[in-house]
Amino acid sequence: MKPLFSKGPSTASRVFTLGGLALLLILVNTYTSLLDPVRAQLANLVAPLYMIADAPGRAVDQVSDSLRTRSDLEEENSALKAELLIHKRKLQQMATLAAENVRLRQLLNSAEVVQDRVLVAELIGISPDPLSHKVIVNKGASHGVYLGQPLLDAYGLMGQVVEVSEYTSQVLLITDASHALPVQVNRNGVRAVAEGTGDLYELKLRYLSNTVDIRVGDLLVSSGLGQRFPVGYPVATVESVVHDPGQPFATVVARPKAQLNRSRHVLLVFSGDRAKDAVDAVELSIPEESEVPEESEGGSG
């Protein structure tokens, strides 16, 4: 090994130099986006750590899967079949509604709604830092994942991709304190901005005046106004509305629909033009059954 401290600057001065360098990196990172491409490349270095850390959990899952009894599996199978039947019934109506929607849009001369396509991904890690709500999913640039891509679970919107490396990507959850997204109340279309608070069960709606019609239990869906999230995915339900005459705005707290700390299987959405472009890329790079169109042939089911 090369001698490290026999000659050259003293250890303390090394500490100061490197500390200053780190400070510089922090400032560049915070106030500019110069380092983002570098970060994305370097993230490939640490991705294996997440995979290794995730391996025991995955192994336990597999073992418990393979140790299940036949009767358990049959029971689950019949439950899933029943559930599927219910969903298919809903989809049957969906097909006519979608067709009707397209016709009405044609009458209005408005743009055709492109079907979103999704890519099934799995969470392989969560950020160890309790203050940053980020998760790592097992799909990356090689699967066509792009910066800003929305992530869903079975119940609602989870977040957006903020860093793409080759085989993994990092997703910022909607509850992170630095995240905000445009939403609308599903009941009446009132628009608002839902801000993360750093609490996994809480979003705040900012700048809603006291006279706005919003009630406890209202469903908030993404409004698509930020051009980032596709329109119409459920985001949260309103949990409390406080009108304080002393405050200029109402205090509205909502609870995210997505199970931000439970979901393991998640969906990356290709929306708008990306959906058209992504079709080939997605179908080429992953096996058939894990890629499902958002709306399968509901009528025939």
Partner: protein, 162 residues
């Protein structure tokens, strides 16, 4: 040319990798604050037992790797670890010759500084901790210090790291 003959120094690097791996193990969000700062503990340990042979650059690089791992600002942990390293270099003689209780207290103070730096960088992004809860990892680390110390000493003796 080499003051102390290097022996099995790869163990140091290996221990840092192991610590990073332990940081990546998923914990459910409410327990996130209970995770000890494995990397910072290692820095304190290696600087205490072999202050002249520990590479500051290695520590810095490990800090950057931890930043990438946690998805926080690049340099955040690197800088915090430099603070730990500086205090470690100032105080290793006292640390070597004191009781385990005092060592635990020193670990708490040094890791508290570490957490302060981390929280300061978070505050640049507008997500500073709402309370003093950010000192909890330092507290847990200090409580577990005797265990870590014992295990690391065994490892160091076994591989005869020098």
């Amino acid at each position: 040319m080499v003051p102390v003959k290097a022996h099995n120094r790869w163990v140091i690097v290996f221990s840092y990798l192991l610590a990073l791996l332990l940081m990546a193990v998923p914990l459910s969000p409410p327990n996130g604050w209970l995770r000890p700062e494995f990397v910072a503990i290692l820095v304190i340990y290696w600087l205490m037992v072999m202050p002249q042979q520990t590479s500051i650059i290695t520590i810095w690089v490990v800090g950057c790797l931890q930043d990438l791992l946690e998805g926080v600002a690049l340099g955040q942990h690197a800088m915090a670890l430099m603070v730990v390293a500086y205090v470690g270099l100032l105080s290793y003689q006292r640390m070597q010759n004191t009781t385990v209780w005092r060592q635990m207290f020193a670990v708490f103070v040094v890791l508290g500084l570490h957490q302060l730096v981390i929280n300061w960088v978070h505050s640049l992004y507008g997500k500073a901790a709402p309370s003093l809860v950010f000192l909890l990892p330092a507290f847990v680390s200090a409580l577990l210090w005797p265990v870590f110390y014992m295990l690391l000493e065994r490892m160091r003796r076994y591989w005869r790291v020098a």
